[in-house]
Symmetry: C2
Subunit: 338 residues, 2 copies
DNA sequence: CTGAAAGCGCTTACAG
DNA sequence: CTGAAAGCGCTTACAG
């Protein structure tokens, strides 16, 4: 490993001057700058991140804090993580993954080590203990999702309202008037007040009211076995249904074959829109599903950007809500003439 | 932030002694140890990870290096990452995510910063340039997957051979003799010599030979549109088929509805085994699929463990191959009497 | 514009 | 068993 000291000696300057050109933090004569840069190149100098962190009190590491709970609802978590890591890299930061319980104790412990400059908090809950820990420790952070008092913080989230409206509008425009929203139970472990469910339901109710539609909501349990009964329940509880909004990809996998078993064709008899999906999962379907593409990649990028902005400019990025992208597929069509 | 110096003053000892109890690196009288521990607790001391890293030349950070390519084949990547991060945490390490191109240039750049003690390399290719960079820079590493010359390195991987045998044996035991392996094309961008495909195909050929089965392999392209034609092609190219092994979850999503459209019932007419799947995706199916559960969580744990062992004991963990777990479902049954 | 020096918060020979 | 001191490789006032 070649150090700044060696570069300084090689270029015949002090290490302070090397630091100045490295960080572009003080004016340096073009000629000495050139000499230093040549020395750095010749010696293959790479600035040591750890020493820099200790001296500058900025580690340039941010943490992605993720609950340990298993989620079925993870279609875009991976792309979110990778995208956040990429954006962090572009901005000169590193991203560490911190699985940590929702009570905040592990988080407090981790923060105490002084390894990270800030935190990106995933799977934010309406009342989130981890936010208290972050505030206590004066750790800069950005939320992915929203807490109850989110307006006080930097956050990025899916624009559930726009997304839900677009999906309902699409179906309404085709002529559907009996649109059932199928979403996971908010009573299940780990899904209490789960933002995506809460907000989608709210938006659905609002749009339905505006359009004069009946509000039909069917909740399912997050057990792996529950998928098979979905179609049975749907047709029993909502015999008049002509279209469904599915908010969980895995539930969709249970619903579709079930409908077919009941002799209901998609889209001729029932239209299906998959909310919060990834293209990979839906496009291979037959017919390819009409779906709302979850903006995982963009959220990862925006989340990292928001946090770094907060760290560098101490200026909270204004909240960013990103709608899902509507992707027309073959699973929606006008309802049968009744 | 409270430092070791403050603890030392509070306890009336030198910082060296504090360090000795902290690291348990030299004998310390029980009474002074107790005094120091009390001081640490009272002051709420937390050892600074960055200073420790600089002084000890060990950052206790490891990197998970992941290619930037989009993969459809990612069913267990997320659980792998989280599991690796959890295990790293348990062992006193942090895990950073480094998206980096396969040519190794970004990796070399990142390693130069001296931030990590070692690397966990994902999506290893048969001839992997990144391995050259790791060797050049004398960076300890463990592989997830295997390169051509993997026997020289620490690696963990899926035991494709055992998994494939188990799947074929299951079908064979039910009476199937026309078993088609459906796997992604190895000519597609990013899937050249793709380990999971290569090894599954090898094992399939070996088992088929042993059992005296016809070798029937169908390749598909990794385009999102290709799913719909899968069943058509299968039934055209292999009209005698009674069972299929699917190696890509998304392809399975295309195959199943296609079969049904052709009037082939699962499992009555055709048995289906989903290889390398996660329970979430398959259990909601109707019928729930028989599948081989991808050991993402265990691989993440083992990978982190192998690397840390290498770092701490300089002793390579012997290679670990973990078979998928057979999960009986409703998509396999004896073939129709012909 | 450049340099000498202190300091970031630890670890680790070395001495006693 | 304990301490004084050097040092990890940088950054950053402070001086000139």
């Amino acid at each position: 490993m070649v150090t700044m000291r060696e570069v300084a000696e090689h270029a015949g300057v002090s290490i302070a001057t090397v630091s100045f050109v490295l960080n572009d933090t003080k004016p340096v004569t073009p000629s000495t700058r050139a000499r230093i840069e040549r020395s750095m190149a010749e010696l293959g100098f790479r600035r040591n991140a750890v020493a820099r962190a200790l001296a500058s009190r900025r580690t340039r590491i941010i943490a992605l804090v993720h609950p340990v709970v298993d989620r079925l609802f993870i279609s875009s978590s991976l792309e979110f993580m990778i995208s956040a890591a990429e954006e962090a890299g572009r901005l000169g930061y590193h991203l560490v993954i911190w699985p940590a319980g929702n009570d905040g104790n592990e988080l407090r412990e981790l923060l105490g080590q002084g390894l990270v400059d800030g935190v990106l908090l995933m799977e934010v809950q309406l009342d989130d203990q981890r936010i208290g820990v972050l505030s206590d420790t004066a750790t800069p952070f950005a939320l992915i999702g929203r807490s109850r008092d989110h307006h006080r913080y930097s956050y990025v989230d899916i624009d559930f309202d726009t997304s839900t409206r677009q999906a309902v509008d699409h179906l309404y425009g085709l002529g559907h008037r009996e649109i059932v929203l199928v979403l996971g139970s908010q009573h299940d472990e780990g899904f209490q007040s789960y933002g995506p469910y809460v907000r989608t339901e709210e938006s659905y109710r609002a749009v339905a009211a505006e359009l004069g539609l009946t509000v039909s909501i069917m909740e399912f349990e997050h057990t792996v076995a529950s998928g098979q009964g979905l179609a049975d329940r749907l047709l029993t509880e909502h015999p008049e249904v002509t279209a469904v909004l599915m908010i969980n990809e895995y539930a969709t996998l249970g619903m579709l074959p079930g409908l077919r078993r009941h002799g209901r064709r998609v889209p001729e008899d029932i239209s299906v829109v998959s909310m919060l999906s990834s293209s990979a999962a839906t496009a291979l379907w037959d017919p390819p599903l009409t779906f709302m593409h979850s903006p995982g990649t963009e959220l990862g990028r925006l989340g990292a950007e928001a946090l770094v902005r907060l760290l560098e400019d101490n200026e909270p990025l204004r909240p960013r809500l990103v709608p899902c992208t509507f992707e027309a597929g073959g699973s929606t069509a006008p309802p049968r003439a009744s």
